[in-house]
Assembly symmetry: C2
Amino acid sequence: MKRSRGRPRKFDTREALGQALQVFWTKGYAGTSLDELAAAMSMKRPSIYNAFGDKEALYRAALNAFQQQLVSGLGTLDSADEPAKILDRFFARALDVYTGGETPLGCFIFCTAPAEAVAHPDVRADILEITGKIDGTLKLFFENARASGRLHGACEPLVAAQLTQAVLHSLALRSRAGQSRTTLNRMARGAVEMICR
Amino acid sequence: MKRSRGRPRKFDTREALGQALQVFWTKGYAGTSLDELAAAMSMKRPSIYNAFGDKEALYRAALNAFQQQLVSGLGTLDSADEPAKILDRFFARALDVYTGGETPLGCFIFCTAPAEAVAHPDVRADILEITGKIDGTLKLFFENARASGRLHGACEPLVAAQLTQAVLHSLALRSRAGQSRTTLNRMARGAVEMICR
DNA sequence: TAATTTTTTTACTATTTCGCATAATATACA
DNA sequence: TGTATATTATGCGAAATAGTAAAAAAATTA
């Protein structure tokens, strides 16, 4: 990649986006001002506009970054392991993200985006797309698990997928509400038990 | 109730609170200004401060009102019916609330409060208390169902309760994201099937 | 070196927002 | 009738906020 023509940027796009994400994650979209973002990103406001567009575009870019990072972080679902083991890992990794910081922030997407979904149709569409994608991925996982005989035939893949994501949603909210990691671990464990039983 | 001394209020407290709730429900806490609230409540801002306190107190009052209204609206869980039937009703009523308006708003609590939970510890505590109360109510329901032989013994009450609330959380988010009522109905149906099987 | 391009930086405008001070109004009570 | 009380209504001022215009800076290219 050749260096472009004009004055070079003094910020790294990915890093700046990550810093913006952190602020949005803590304070929500509407609760965050551009000045706070500028401070966290070490950028002046005009540079933010130039690089990312307006506040909503920046927020949606953060949503997208988080989703990608989460998808890759949740680990592969298509190993030959027991389904219950795979789901245990899945939830454990999610909880790592949700309760990782000094104060647990829950899920950036499911805890901050819904509040904006009505006022910002594009954000609503983003949520819809992400939940659809997760449903699809999980459904495929359950179909494969059933086809390979690791899961009994009565377990309807779509329902199991939706139920699994429901647990994810609940962990997202509960961790932000401050429930302890051990409580959440137990809940995840029990849910996997019920889904795969 | 004796009429108090000074100039009478020209607003009904419950009604005004309901109108504030509607705005918060649509735009979220941080996305709502006191001027918008004042317009919706047909009150001047000083009257709001006088009657409800500051913005956060008003929001928390709305949270409480919604929770009470929801609890009473979700219907009694202690009939002698089949557990599956009772849960079907439970989710159907929740979806009535979540998708009821002209545009589906999802759950006021679970879709707007989490975004504020970090910046406003009292709101976080409110969420924690509400989810705890719902867990407790549902756990009692499953214990009773099991004790009366309407549910098989392998169904752990606490896990079933948490899983049921997880479905509630998911319906809350999904309805606000715009998933169709029939999709949500099917999901609820499948979930009840899996929990009570 | 000069021209071009892109970004940074500074500064500005218009609007929104909050909180408060003050005046006006409507009731109960003595 | 007059006083006390609680609310409504008006308006001000300071701060925050979003977005933009214009100048300055740092690089490439001719």
